[in-house]
Symmetry: C2
Subunit: 204 residues, 2 copies
């Protein structure tokens, strides 16, 4: 297809398509004359993916580039790949500390793995600090409510990966981390709404 059709089918303006090509985020089309290049379905898929990460997920362009780089050239170690994917996603916390005491205590309590180099540890530490600052309950019984559900979800998410090749597993893990998060948060908000609508409201 021509670049105009690629633009129309992806919903991405031609100027933006050209920008992604210049930035190396989208491969060039196949030159069919000095003035025209031909684009295929793989270009369309890639553009939709960039739009999902940039527009829908709201990642800054530098982070979209990080995610694409992970998919194009994954680390040999899947744990390192997961670590880099999580580092490309918000919340962007000040990492690089030696120790995260709030997260360390919670992780020990919840039976998870404490690795201060894995960005989600710093993210949990910040999140727990915010709970404390706001006077919300961050004690183990409350944390277990979330941890139990997340462990169940994570196990179901990882299960299909045992049948995948590395080339399939990396995009699945990286994109799944990025793109099921907004689904989950919207569904929690919808569940609150549904329960309030159905069940009446607390007394004032």
């Amino acid at each position: 297809m021509k670049i105009s059709e690629l633009s129309e089918r992806s919903g991405v303006p031609v100027a933006t398509v050209k920008f992604y090509i210049r930035e190396g985020m989208l491969p060039r089309g196949e030159a069919v004359s000095t003035t025209r290049a031909e684009y295929g379905d793989e270009h369309l898929a890639r553009l939709k993916l960039i739009a999902a990460l940039a527009d829908v997920r709201g990642l800054p362009l530098s982070r979209v580039r990080d995610v694409l780089a992970l998919i194009d050239a994954p680390d040999d170690d899947p744990i390192a790949t997961l670590g880099r994917a999580v580092g490309a996603l918000p919340p962007y916390v000040g990492a690089g500390r030696d120790d995260y005491p709030l997260a360390r205590a919670a992780i020990a309590e919840l039976g998870l793995t404490y690795d201060p180099d894995f960005t989600a540890v710093a993210q949990l530490d910040e999140a727990l600090r915010a709970l404390e600052a706001a006077g919300l309950d961050a004690a183990p019984p409350v944390l277990r409510r979330y941890s139990g559900a997340m462990r169940q979800i994570a196990a179901e998410e990882l299960a299909p990966m045992t049948g995948m090749t590395r080339a399939e597993a990396v995009p699945y893990a990286v994109l799944g981390t990025a793109l099921y998060e907004p689904v989950m948060l919207a569904l929690r908000r919808l569940a609150h709404h549904h329960l309030l609508v159905e069940g009446g409201t607390p007394k004032g």
Copy 2:
């Protein structure tokens, strides 16, 4: 306490404290002389809350102001309050459409309540569009994985509200929506990490 002590104990610079007072986000201290005001524990708590929303949760200042306004003067209708709280949180989607077909179909399938005026409906629609664009599974069995867990969590979160007054319930609901989300996301990422570390890795 003096403003200098308030600054030190909250970790918020004096100039920023003065800015929050000018913006009406933090009440003035009690004037004890023409040049000095006295601040109390309620000022400290409020500053910590602002810092949690702005710095840790990363909300833009205009959205922090929205959340504070909800807490200070909640709507009489708790469903409306929840709706406004959710509208103050990311992802900031283009709302105001008449219909959200992807979300409508999913919500019907999941047995939730479809109300196009509730922002989380637009948020779910966008999130499902991103899944489709990235070629990830958005079919009912996968959505049920998240929905079931979120419904369980939402029910446990709402349970304590039946014993609360309106003045207690609103901050609990508004801040809980905002501040347990990062905890949940960090725990999902940590569960992936833990399962990969424990269970070995898919074959490449």
